[in-house]
């Protein structure tokens, strides 16, 4: 194993997580799902409108981010749900903690490994879609496609990171793997499905207290909404359809939204670390 050449425990743990995902074909499986999703949306997405043509880039990113927002968190959850509870059940968490490694190093090592796994899968899947789009769609400029897909891959990875960390938090608190899965599916259900539905309901009902500022805050309070906002604002919300009109009201620029995403990640790292440091053995 090459990890014997690695000197930092963080890198050793990250390498082990990466190899685990390769060994159990997780990367292959999730990469295929992402690729199937992006290719379907890109090349067959307009079939529902009765035409077989490549969509404008703004519409494509709108469709891609709308579908990815369901799949990416799910993939991140599947990757991270047993990170701690699984090791605890196997007895290896206790063993790892007896080694000259801090809990922070274990946490960061796992996070680095899982982030790499997500980066490889999303980059390969969405990157190859971008390449195919440039090959078959002469109407797109290379710079535009690279810029839009680059942004999409980066934001997808930030979203994945938040759900990986949510996975760690639940995994650290759960006593069994099955409970961790159930808890995370509940989190996914609330953040991905229910939260948006409630937000749209409030917007449509035109309640008095809902102003632009409050809407911005409510979008910032959910990483999946931030992800959608980043991808829709980046291509122009006016071309993305009425269903997403709430993102048209967002005041923030891309840098603020990316910063908010990073705040989410940092906060979740701190919470995970805090739970891990107090975890009874």
């Amino acid at each position: 194993m090459n990890s014997t050449l690695l000197t930092s425990p963080i890198l050793v743990i990250a390498y082990k997580e990466l190899r685990d995902s390769l060994r159990n074909r997780w990367i292959l499986f999730m990469g295929s799902i992402f690729m199937l999703l992006s290719l379907s949306v890109t090349f067959a997405g307009r079939a529902v409108t009765g035409e077989l043509a490549l969509p404008p880039l703004a519409n494509l990113m709108s469709s891609l981010s709308t579908t990815s927002v369901f799949i990416i968190p799910l993939a991140a959850i599947l990757l991270s749900y047993d990170s701690f509870v699984g090791e605890q059940e196997a007895g290896t968490l206790l063993l790892l903690l007896s080694y000259p490694i801090s809990r922070t190093q274990i946490l960061i090592g796992k996070l680095l490994g899982h982030s790499l796994v997500m980066f490889i899968t999303t980059s390969c899947a969405f990157g190859s879609t971008a390449v195919l789009l440039l090959t078959f769609g002469s109407q797109y400029s290379v710079v535009e496609v690279v810029s839009v897909f680059g942004q999409f891959i980066i934001s997808s990875n930030l979203l994945a990171l938040t759900f990986i960390l949510l996975g760690y938090i639940v995994s650290l608190r759960a006593t069994e793997k099955a409970k961790a899965v159930a808890g995370l599916l509940f989190v996914w259900f609330i953040l991905v499905l229910i939260y948006d539905l409630l937000l749209l309901t409030v917007l449509v009902s035109d309640v008095a207290f809902m102003d632009k500022q409050l809407l911005n805050i409510l979008i910032a309070l959910n990483p999946t909404d931030l992800y959608r906002a980043i991808n829709l604002v980046s291509v122009g919300t006016e071309s993305t359809g009425a269903a997403f009109s709430m993102f048209g009201d967002i005041d923030w620029g891309m840098s603020v939204m990316y910063s908010l995403m990073l705040v989410w990640i940092c906060a979740l790292v701190v919470i995970s670390q805090s739970i891990f440091s107090r975890k009874p053995l």
């Binding site: 000197t7 190899r19 961790a180």
Partner: protein, 331 residues
């Protein structure tokens, strides 16, 4: 134990003084004193929930004592302790990785180089299976890998929690042979086990715990003496030999002599002096007998993990995921 029981060295590598451990209102360990020396094997014995694993976790520095002082090689135990090897109870490692990969992973975490991994794979007779995933390994093979993992860094202190559970006698013997060779190199070994007949042949001293309290401790001879259990001496043609010997008659119990531990040496010397008694067998009380003697009055205790859970109010599965940290987590 606070008595020098070391066969070859006189340096305590683990020193436990009046250590107590509480999880909330539950007292897991109470006033434990213990010295472990270089080259010594100490057996931690007791029912499930007696506090053995908690004591190991204290030595590992994974939890802190509520009271008392615990030093490992002269320093406070912490999560980055001295050169220490540990094999937890019933560890299953990573099923999808190969034996080589698992050992290399733990070696890398300890900064141990590949040649040592290769050496241990060979030493523990796992060469033929080193590139097979662990899910194809038998219990004995996994346990051998576990011990190899524990001694990767040639530790000064080796802590083994139930190392022979589920192993066949040959595999157990193999493991204890390895432990014996480590002892000779000066490694202090602490074994937590229920397999008394096996560990009896290998221990230098033992600590018997019940309900987190010391019941007895010391060398096997100390424990025999403290228990008051007598040594049985059997002679061929017993009746003829004992007949007419007032001293032996006074020790007679059925068809054997029963001798208190403090008289044992004198009686054996007496028998050796009697030319007619050159052939006799001495059966000392076994560790199992000593254990049962001390433990028969002790209540069966709940597992520490059950105690820990008991301090958390019982909730539904979903609530329990988000329930506040239990008090023991503050340790």
């Amino acid at each position: 134990m606070n008595s020098n029981t070391s066969p070859t060295y006189n340096i305590p590598v683990v020193n436990v003084e009046h250590v107590g451990l509480r999880f909330g209102d539950v007292e897991v360990l109470h006033d434990i004193n213990l010295d472990v020396y270089q080259g010594q094997t100490l057996a931690l014995l007791g029912h499930n929930g007696a506090g053995k694993s908690s004591l190991i976790k204290l030595i590992l520095g994974l939890i802190k004592p509520t009271t008392g002082q615990l030093t490992v090689q002269g320093g406070r135990a912490s999560y980055q302790p001295v050169n220490l090897g540990y094999l937890p109870e019933d560890v299953s490692f990573y099923d999808k990785l190969t034996g080589w990969e698992v050992l290399s992973y733990f070696a890398a975490l300890k900064g141990v180089k590949a040649p040592r991994v290769k050496q241990l794979i060979a030493e523990f007779e796992l060469e033929y299976a080193q590139h097979r995933p662990l899910k194809t390994y038998s219990k004995g093979m996994k346990q051998r890998l576990g011990v190899a993992q524990a001694i990767l860094s040639q530790p000064d202190i080796l802590l083994l929690d139930e190392p022979t559970v589920g192993l066949d006698p040959q595999a157990s013997q193999f493991l204890y042979q390895k432990i014996a060779s480590l002892k000779q190199q000066g490694c202090a070994v602490i074994v937590c086990t229920h397999e008394l007949s096996i560990v009896e042949k290998h221990l230098d001293s033992a600590l018997l715990l019940a309900g987190g309290r010391r019941v007895a401790s010391g060398t096997l001879d100390d424990l025999r003496h403290a228990s008051g259990l007598k040594t049985q001496i059997k002679l061929p043609n017993f009746t003829d030999k004992v007949q007419g010997d007032g001293y032996l008659q006074s020790l007679r119990h059925g068809q054997a002599l029963l001798v208190a531990s403090d008289e044992r040496k004198a009686v054996i010397e007496y028998l050796v002096q009697q030319k007619s008694c050159t052939d006799f067998s001495v059966i000392d009380p076994s560790l199992e007998a000593i254990y049962h003697h001390f433990m028969q009055q002790q209540p069966l205790n709940p597992l520490p993990s059950d105690i820990a859970v008991a301090t958390i109010p019982r909730k539904g599965w979903l609530q329990s995921l988000f329930s506040p940290i239990a008090r023991q987590s503050q340790l």
